[in-house]
Symmetry: D5
Subunit: 139 residues, 10 copies
């Protein structure tokens, strides 16, 4: 069916129907084989559309997450990463937890040679936070 027919005739999602996970635990990060495992090359995911909830106020926080890593045997699949980051949407978390957790979840699933996760959050009360966490394999 063409998109046009779908728009005109299809029941659109009801006003509160969402297509993302409730929590990061539910959104499994997926991996695929690193075809260039003989080389150390850097992959960066730029994710400027990050949002979660503040544990103190219960109100939304927004930020930009940048993930740079050197894969070992496995690479992170980017559509699963997108779904994983969406899953913070209704999840209460401090900025320090968001960044460290993303780091740990990616290390757990693909065991990279090196990884840095950098979060830059929007200001509240005139102050904004950036958090940067790194991990490197013991060689």
């Amino acid at each position: 069916m063409s998109e046009k027919e779908r728009l005109n005739t299809l029941t659109l999602l009801s006003k509160n129907e969402k297509n993302y996970f409730d929590s990061p635990e539910d959104a499994a990060l997926e991996v695929f084989d690193n075809l260039y495992v003989g080389r150390d090359y850097k992959i960066t995911f730029n994710c400027p559309e990050f949002t979660a909830l503040c544990p103190v106020t219960g109100q939304p926080d927004f930020g930009k997450i940048t993930i740079t890593y050197i894969a070992d045997e496995k690479c992170v699949e980017s559509k699963s990463l997108k779904m994983y980051l969406f899953a913070f949407r209704n999840h209460n978390s401090f900025h320090e937890e968001v960044v460290n957790r993303i780091l740990e979840d990616i290390v757990a699933v693909c065991d990279p040679r090196e990884i840095t996760v950098y979060g830059e959050f929007m200001p509240r009360g005139g102050i904004s936070l950036d958090i940067e966490a790194s991990h490197k394999k013991n060689s």
Copy 2:
């Protein structure tokens, strides 16, 4: 109680506890008296942290909303505007609907002399949309 005690001893909000409305219908915009009603002066709200859900995919969309208006007897109270915009978070809406709706809701609550609502949304599939809607009182 000081913030410190609260953090250490208070039960933090549970992992999915939110403090915003489910839908814009629930989040009443509030007004106060315009103290300078004798003058036409422009007020702009810059709201770069806007997010709603796409009605087709059910996945998050992000954008920047800019509201410029000349008040008549009533001005929009900004904390209620913040809560109102938060209420789109789990609400499915096309960009055209978001912008036109915000315009209509503000006109309904404070009947301004003039108003423009401008939404600039993040790209999907290589294309990004901007929507701009205006309203002017018949004088």
Copy 3:
């Protein structure tokens, strides 16, 4: 099937398998009903990833297309616009033709109140071209 299984087991598209139309004539622009037809509001599509072929050299040209219009009864559906713009990929066209043609094709399919199409193309031989074409309904 989850994305992971698909990646690991699915036959990937062969090295030259494309999912776009050969020519703009084949890629029908689609429309939907303008829900705010009582109001003149501006819609802008920002399309920075445009490419076609030069009719003289047969080599790729690149540019940014910006379409701003005020809809009448019909709005352009953005996924069909994406497919329509992809269809210039292997199509030879001068910059002047690209811009004027996009204008005429959109006017033909949705008869807007006003429309401007603006193309900004990458330099060749030290010179770059911008083309801007507009159309307004006779009221």
Copy 4:
């Protein structure tokens, strides 16, 4: 014949006539002698007009490729590099493959002392990728 006569009288390329290669295998990179082989000097090619097809969707992807290298006996000839990069146009490739492959193809043809290839790709689904791969000769 002057350009003018050609434009007015010459049969222009038909609407789908292209002047680039179907695949990178067909577009041989060419080299010339490094006249300054006694010195380590850096050459950077900035290639902001890169496009290939996504292996999953078959739809175009766009990016900017930056190649920095220190030549040994041979330098890459830039017109052949232009034709080589054009040859990805209808070729399905993941971003990781594009960058690593360009690196390997250049190393194969001119055996540089050092080389880095850096690709920055346009966002899809709110996330954009950058890939950076390097190679250094064993001295």
Copy 5:
């Protein structure tokens, strides 16, 4: 006495000694004769270091004030304007009041042909306000 001696020997201001007015009412704006009264010329004061207190929270707000005017017989003296703006430092005022008040105070003291006061305030809760008020003499 030279600055050096003063620094070494002079009793510095005690830790809370200020040299500005407590309130705008106390800080008289001063004027001088417009030497070019035969011409309409524009004067702009750019004041990026503005701060007052929020009437709701009692906490500081910050902003940038831009004043553009065409003088009639009198021009505003800039040192007195500096002192006048400092006087908002411990004064509680909404942004709408700050901008309209500055406009009215300058009109009162120098009766300009035209004046616009533009305030751009730092975000609170993810939203920032700009206020623009103008006045023109009846000619």
Copy 6:
């Protein structure tokens, strides 16, 4: 009580009522447990709304303070940091003192592994100052 009722009926703060401390000594910095104490990760506070008084003139100075640190057992709580920085508002201090003092106060309260405090102040007399101070634990 809703915000609306409060605005209309509540006695607003009187014109000089402030909600911040008179001096940094009064505004205790607060800490909480570092949940990721096993890792060295960087936290940056960006504080662009800093103001204090000049000890020579008694007039306001403005600047941007950036604090980057690697926590040990304790992290600085950001709301207390906000109140602490507000407390310089009516406090006379040279730029060198502001930066070194903030460094020492944070070291005293949370004993970080590393910390840098960077202040960039607005120009006076055509010259602006930046001050950068660091501290690292003896390991």
Copy 7:
């Protein structure tokens, strides 16, 4: 013959062999039929690599020329425009003459409905010049 063979075997141009005209009079601007003559659409040529000689010092001057016009029956062919602009390379001309002359030469060859030529030249002695000249057909 492939480019490679040409580079290796072909006699390169001798050290002072040029491929451009000595003077603008020698470089004829060429035109082609405007296919969209029923519409007023704007064409802009951005030419940032302009250079001529200063009539006073005989030394090079550099600038950026921007030509915006609405064609009538004829459009300017861009390769001939490139050659025409190259022809100022060893030609002595004041900035005012360059801009007005380009305007007149284009008007003479294609009689546009409207045209503006804008030149922005690099500073000499701390001062830089911009020149803007326009022409509109009598309708």
Copy 8:
């Protein structure tokens, strides 16, 4: 004599030897015939290196002067303009006077059809001034 010999053998200017005028009255602006007097075209002089002395403190002020005009029979010669602007170096003048005076001096010497002089001065005490004055011939 070549520059080299001059540098090595020539007596350099003594440490306070200047080559500019003491006052604007001494530095005559010079004109030449407008070769395009039949057309209204705009000439802009961008002069970012302007400095004079403050009449209150006797200390230097700095600014950027932009002069845009449409010449009638005469154009301003730019080297004489350079010398004229240098002549403010040791001259005490308020910003309002600088801008209006430059306007009047240029009008006096070349009687242009239109002219605007725009001065943007560096901040003092946290506030910076811009002044814009215009003149148009009575037609």
Copy 9:
């Protein structure tokens, strides 16, 4: 006396009355005790309003001077630095001399642990110069 009275009644400085020194030798740099002598912290003076005379032409040169240093027992007092830099106004000096001299004069007066002086000068004849000189104490 208030500023207003002074402006209206006080004899303003005559048209060439200056309040700065004729030569850097006359403008003594002043110092004060470094209160944080136990720590190495960096102080940067940003001085964008620097001007001197060219020894060849006798005409003004302009530049931006940036001084970064780590003090030992003494810090440079910034008002004296301002007066010292003003003193180059009518002093003929090559850019290399300006930068090296400022370095040497500051080292002479406060014997810092480290210092870098960086000058960026405005272009003349299409070329601009930057000079960077450093000094470090023998430890």
Copy 10:
């Protein structure tokens, strides 16, 4: 003779009269004694107005040349450098040759301690080149 008389009465240079050298061999770089030979300090020439001819097409190429060096006994005199760079105007040279040659010519004339020459050239065919070459004295 004053500039005015010269302009009105002097025969201007004929339309193709140039005041620069035909080739870099003809334009001798000149040096003067380094007055600060006891110190290693960096001098940078920023030369954004560079142009030469392409050896393949005979058409102009444009670029920005940046030369940073630490002088030994001799410094490069900047007016001779300006004339030397002008001398590439009608000289055919590849970008790699331009940069390496400038490096070698400066080393030959002043034997610096260190030098880097960096050329950034304008795009042709969608690709632009940067070349960076360095030299350091054997110590």
